[in-house]
Amino acid sequence: MHAVYPLVLGALLFAIGLYGVLARRNAITVLMAIELLLNAVTINLVAFGSIIRDALNIGQVFTLFIITIAAAETGLGLAIVLLIFRQKGTAGIDEQRTLAEPARLPDLSKLADRSSEPSPSARTAP
């Protein structure tokens, strides 16, 4: 079989996965797109292993590892998505902006005050 087919397949899958990661809004879709990205890589690994006739089959070994880790990663990701959904009622990835910079610059003198604040309870307060 010509080597170009699996490579083209891998490239196509990667492109689809990239689109899914960068453009889709639903967190579950993004997770699925990440799976596509990983699978594109595994296809490439297996294909190249076969092309260079690797006696140790490192590509296939890697693929097995990636599948295992991908399963764990998906489980974790889904759990996080579930928690976010429970808290905020939405799984839209573009609505998770807690880490965004505030609109105005924080006052430096207040920052200094906060760092010298001794009580730990004040830090955990909402």
């Binding site: 990239l18 990661v21 960068l22 453009a23 990835i93 573009d94 998770q96 902006r97 807690t98 880490l99 965004a100 910079e101 610059l105």
Partner: protein, 629 residues
């Protein structure tokens, strides 16, 4: 004898440490301030007796040899050092014993006594040191001690400013002095005084001697209060009177003269510097004597008189009369200590420094009157008191100066004789105003105040003790060259009594000086006779006010140095806060502005971040591919 010298240095230092450790315990402070100083006096006597007229004996050990600069800890005893050592410890002992009663009621007596001990020890370190660097250490300790002692009454503003002024002015001379010592040590290849003197007497061994001598001279001028670094000394009168006696007679001001005498071969290599010294001495002696004639504070009269007398010593050094200078230093040490301590007794009793508050004290204070008369006669230079012989030896040295000293000799001689007139005038004025005429309180109808005792017995004993050398020390000059064989040659070598410098008064200068003294004293007496209640200083005429203000030297100093320094400091402060700080503040503000722009991109949208990341990867990959391909 080196051991004795070491003991003499160590004892007052030990006394100082112990006095400081004793806190405010008065009895402890009394014992530990007087006993070590008296023992140090005995030790210096032992040094002198053991040394006799021998040459130099050095006992020194090298301190931590670590290459480069070598420092030798130890003592170097010459006749010169032995004589000055006796003077220092004698006056210091007198001052310590005198202070026992004089400073009895002072709250800070312990600190005061400890500092005097430290001062004495530092001066002995200067006198007996074998190494120029160690000498410098003693020199600086003296500077610090004088600062603390002048500022003893720190509640008074003039004491505070006087102490700061003394410190700053002497430090102005000390910085060039430090450079001079380093240059001298580098040129001579060693800081040991014996090596330096050997190099100075070996032709062609020292270079840049004029520069070195000029730098060293700056330090000596500062410590010995010569023009233009003299202005600290009159202001130093804000300290307690015994301190004035100590600083003015034996320690601080003597150090400058001593160092020039010690390193005299170096100065002989720089005739230009010695001529400059002659001019400075001439200006100082006449100017200070004029200022003394106009002062109204008796301590300031004595202070200006010290400046003027020190200028005699400097003048003698400038014309090659090293022996005469040291002779005058010793005599002056005795009679000036006497004058200050006697003035202290009078000031305590009358309760004022102002000359106008005195009068008619000769019957009320007979001991102070007698001893002060001896001191003033010595100061004026009336025969047979000590000052006559030493002043004549200075004038004689100027008279006989020839060769490279000829010009300097004339300058010093003329200024010296003019100063004799002025000295006689201000001494006469002080003597008459203090002890004759009406007592101001009496003339105003006040009933005669009770005068149970003149002063505590111990103070009067000290005055009498000091009056003896003030009166008799001069006769050493008659014994052909004895004093010169005592102090030894320029390099500390033995001087045979045949080759020794003769200090015998010369008839010509003696007659002129005596006539000058009678003229000055007589003029003041005539003026006083006409108006006993008035101030004879009126004979100065229009010069009186400038002389009273020290010829506006402080104002000129303020204008030239202080104002310009302040203006310069203002400029520097402006440059610092407005120019340099502008860059610093700008760096902060600029970073914040740029940061504010960049943080706009932090929207919190993860997908945007990833897109940018991907773009970056692609760009890097393209660039990399372009480079490889």
């Amino acid at each position: 004898m080196n051991t004795f010298a070491l003991i003499a240095i160590a004892l007052p230092a030990l006394g100082a440490v112990s006095t400081f450790a004793g806190g405010r315990d008065r009895r402890h402070a009394r014992f530990w301030s007087t006993a070590p100083t008296l023992l140090a006096f005995l030790a210096t006597l032992a040094v002198s007796v053991a040394h006799g007229t021998g040459g130099t004996s050095v006992q020194a050990t090298r301190l931590a040899p670590a290459g480069g600069l070598e420092i030798w800890l130890g003592t170097r005893v010459t006749g010169l050092a032995a004589v000055i050592g006796i003077l220092v410890t004698f006056v210091a002992s007198c001052v310590q014993v005198y202070s026992l009663t004089y400073m009895k009621d002072d709250r800070r007596y312990a600190t005061y006594a400890g500092l005097i001990s430290l001062f004495t020890s530092a001066m002995l370190l200067v006198v007996f040191s074998a190494d120029l660097i160690v000498l410098l250490v003693g020199w600086e300790i003296m500077g610090v001690c004088s600062y603390f002692l002048i500022g003893h009454y720190w509640e008074k503003p003039e004491a505070r400013s006087g102490s700061i002024k003394a410190f700053l002015v002497t430090k102005t001379g000390d910085v060039p002095f430090l450079f001079g010592i380093i240059a001298l040590g580098v040129q001579a290849g060693s800081f040991r005084i014996s090596d330096v003197l050997f190099a100075a007497t070996t032709p062609g061994d020292l270079h840049h001697t004029t520069l070195i001598a000029a730098l060293l001279l700056c330090g000596a001028l500062g410590k010995s209060a010569q023009f233009p670094l003299h202005s600290w000394l009159p202001d130093a009168m804000a300290g307690p009177t015994p301190i004035s006696a100590l600083i003015h007679a034996a320690t601080m001001v003597a150090a400058g003269v001593y160092v020039i005498a010690l390193l005299y071969p170096v100065f002989l290599l720089a005739p230009g510097v010695l001529t400059t010294l002659a001019v400075i001495a001439a200006i100082t002696m006449t100017g200070a004597a004029l200022a003394a004639l106009a002062q109204t504070d008796i301590k300031k009269i004595l202070a200006y008189s010290t400046v003027s007398q020190l200028a005699y010593m400097m003048g003698a050094l400038a014309v090659g009369g090293r022996t005469a200078a040291i002779f005058h230093l010793v005599n002056h040490g005795a009679f000036k200590a006497l004058l200050f301590l006697a003035a202290g007794v009078v000031i305590h009793r009358v309760g004022s420094n102002e000359l106008s508050d005195f009068g008619g004290l000769r019957h009320r204070m007979p001991v102070a009157f007698g001893t002060m008369t001896v001191g003033l006669c010595a100061l004026v230079g009336l025969p047979p008191f000590s000052g006559f012989f030493s002043k004549e030896s200075v004038l004689g040295a100027a008279w006989q100066a020839n060769g490279q000293f000829a010009a300097a000799g004339w300058i010093v001689l003329i200024a010296g004789i003019v100063t004799v007139v002025l000295t006689a005038a201000y001494s006469m004025r002080m003597w008459l105003k203090m002890f004759y005429g009406p007592f101001p309180e009496e003339s105003s109808g006040d009933p005669s105040p009770a005068w149970p005792v003149e002063a505590p017995q111990s103070e009067l004993v000290i005055l009498t003790l000091l009056a003896i050398p003030s009166a008799l020390l001069g006769f050493l000059a008659l014994s052909r060259g004895t004093f010169d064989t005592w102090i030894g040659g320029y390099e500390g070598q033995v001087v045979s009594s045949l080759a020794a410098v003769d200090l015998n008064p010369i008839l010509a200068t003696s007659l002129i000086a005596l006539a000058a003294a009678l003229l000055g004293g007589g003029l003041v007496w005539l003026v006083w006779r006409r108006d006993p209640a008035g101030d004879p200083a009126t004979i100065l005429g229009p010069l009186r006010v400038p002389a009273l203000r020290g010829f506006y030297f402080d104002e000129a100093q303020d204008f030239l140095l202080v104002r310009s320094t302040k203006a310069l400091a203002g400029l520097v402060a402006f440059l610092d806060t407005e120019v340099i700080d502008a860059y610093v503040r700008g760096a902060g503000a600029g970073t914040r502005t740029v940061g504010g722009l960049v943080r706009r991109s932090q929207t919190g949208n993860v997908q945007l971040y990833l897109t940018v990341l991907l773009t970056g990867v692609i760009v890097i990959a393209c660039v990399f591919a372009g480079q490889v391909g």
